[in-house]
């Protein structure tokens, strides 16, 4: 504890020290160790409290000042964008490449000498580019380049901090600027999840030739969140060259990628992938089987029905539910007896309910009526539940 004393001696101004604290030195030394420790903690606490108060006040005030400053600038920038781009008098007549850019107005009105000014302007331009499409978006992109805002984005991309890299990628991908494919491809296998995902998204949006090339060497799993994000990017990038996703069903052993491709196959209605999807019905992993069954249902794969029925008995419950759901979607009518039997036989509520819905989807009024008359009480309740138009699920 003597060391604490020494440290304090150095910290506290000498006259003050001599007058108020030094006299206690002997007293301190006479105290038992735990009291000396307690005194140390007290001093530390008091100093840290004062320090935190100062920090609180400083950060809050500077935050307030900055946000007020940015807000003012942002509003100015927004009205310029609206005035000179959205309400541009020529916008309806002339193609976006021929419109004279209002970059001079932006420079004179906004200054744009400081980094923060450019950053706020980037945010504004990005916001508009994201929410508005068509000619205005193209003019915004030209403006972004003309004002050399892309330089900031490229600089961020080269930063060693991963969150800066992401910001840069994000901006460049949104504004559709060229990024060397090698750089992006390398980042798509980064060990940092967040960066990897952003790089994959950017790659899909920016790659000229093969936007899905990184699927080929995707080793890591694709989390639900990443799938959701990439799905949105894939379905929202105009002019994207959509390949047949069955390619990765056959050649990849990445399960998450397979699940993801199944979703894409369904979304893009790739009927010629049906045979590849059917092959997955023998997959070892029940989750994959379930997803494949669901996909077949959504693709109306009437050819798959026989196999679905054949495999039914050996499946875990959630796959059985999926099979019944698929039959309800395909509605060929060939297996309505099967559905009726499962509805009456199954001990599992989820199976029964799905069977009831599949039967209703077939629209066989006479069958439904006879079931309502003759089925046991609990089955009838399930059927009525599914028939009620006000109950969604």
């Amino acid at each position: 504890m003597a060391s604490l004393y020494d440290i304090l001696e150095r910290l506290i101004p000498y006259p003050f020290w001599v007058r108020y604290i030094a006299p206690f030195e002997n007293w301190m030394e006479a105290q038992p160790p735990f009291i000396r420790f307690a005194i140390g903690v007290i001093i530390l606490s008091v100093f840290s409290i004062l320090f935190m108060y100062a920090l609180l006040i400083i950060t809050r005030l500077s935050y307030q000042w900055k946000s007020r400053r940015n807000e003012k600038f942002r509003q100015k920038a927004e009205s310029l964008v609206i005035e000179h781009i959205f309400l541009h008098p020529d916008i309806e007549r002339v193609s976006p490449e021929q419109i004279t850019l209002p970059d001079q107005q932006f420079r004179t009105e906004l200054g744009l000498n400081k980094y923060w000014q450019r950053q706020v302007l980037i945010d504004v331009v990005m916001y508009y580019h994201k929410n508005f499409a068509g000619k205005t978006a193209q003019i915004l992109r030209r403006l972004y380049i003309q004002l050399r805002l892309d330089k900031i984005s490229y600089r961020k991309l080269r930063s060693w901090r991963w969150n800066k890299k992401i910001e840069g990628l994000h901006e460049l991908a949104e504004m559709q600027l060229q990024v060397p494919e090698v750089i992006m491809l390398e980042l798509t296998t980064s060990r940092n999840r967040v960066l990897r995902m952003e790089a994959q998204a950017a790659y899909i949006r920016l790659s000229k030739n093969e936007p899905f090339k990184f699927f080929d060497h995707l080793k890591e799993n694709l989390l639900a969140w990443e799938q959701l994000f990439l799905f949105e990017v894939i379905t929202h990038t105009p002019g994207l060259n959509i390949p047949s996703f069955s390619r990765w069903l056959n050649y990849s052993d990445n399960k998450d990628l397979m699940l993801f491709c199944l979703k894409l196959i369904v979304h893009f209605n790739q009927f010629n992938s049906i045979s590849s999807v059917i092959k997955l019905l023998d997959h070892r992993d029940a989750r994959i089987r379930e997803a494949a069954i669901d996909a077949l249902g959504q693709l109306d794969a009437i050819d798959a029905e026989d196999q679905l029925i054949r495999m039914y008995v050996d499946q875990p419950t959630f796959c059985q539910v999926a099979i019944i759901r698929a039959l309800g979607r395909i509605r060929s009518g060939r297996y309505i007896d099967f559905l009726r039997e499962e509805f009456l036989r199954s001990q599992d509520y989820a199976v029964r309910k799905e069977a009831a819905r599949a039967i209703i989807a077939h629209g066989d009024e006479s069958l439904i009526e006879s079931l309502l008359l003759h089925a046991p009480e609990d089955r009838k309740r399930t059927l009525e539940h599914c028939l009620d138009p006000l109950i969604k699920y």
Binding site: E78, N131, F132, A133, G134
Partner: protein, 121 residues
């Protein structure tokens, strides 16, 4: 007489931009940033069209449509829904409630104006 339209949108930047787009076209534009303001505007004015977002405070867009269609006498007023939601059931729901058009974000300004104009003639 200029046509009067109401725009309901909880993001102020979007709201301002769409508002000015229609102002420039010679419309009289009223705005609301939430369901409560929107209903006040709808009750107080004779509107020619309503452009609404789906998710916002107080009342969701779906309920605003339902109120326009069921509570108010003017059932003919065109309602245009703007949303970024991709889910088909929501689109169906919106049309079932009586919306006339559904426009997905990102918005193409000229298209938005054209579709509103089409409904107004």
């Amino acid at each position: 007489m200029p046509k009067k339209i109401l725009i309901i949108e909880d993001e102020p930047v979007m709201l301002k931009t769409i508002e000015l787009l229609f102002r420039k076209k010679g419309y009289e534009v009223l705005t609301a940033t939430n369901g409560k303001e929107a209903m006040e505007q709808i009750r107080a004015h004779r509107l020619d069209a309503v452009i609404t977002d789906v998710m916002m405070p107080y009342l969701p867009g779906t309920e605003i449509i339902s109120r326009i269609r069921h509570e108010l006498s003017n059932e003919q007023i065109p309602v245009i829904v703007i949303s970024s939601v991709e889910i088909d059931s929501l689109v169906e729901e919106v049309f079932a409630l009586g919306a006339n058009d559904f426009i997905r974000k990102p918005i193409v300004p000229t298209e938005l104006v054209a579709r509103v104009e089409k409904l107004l003639t």
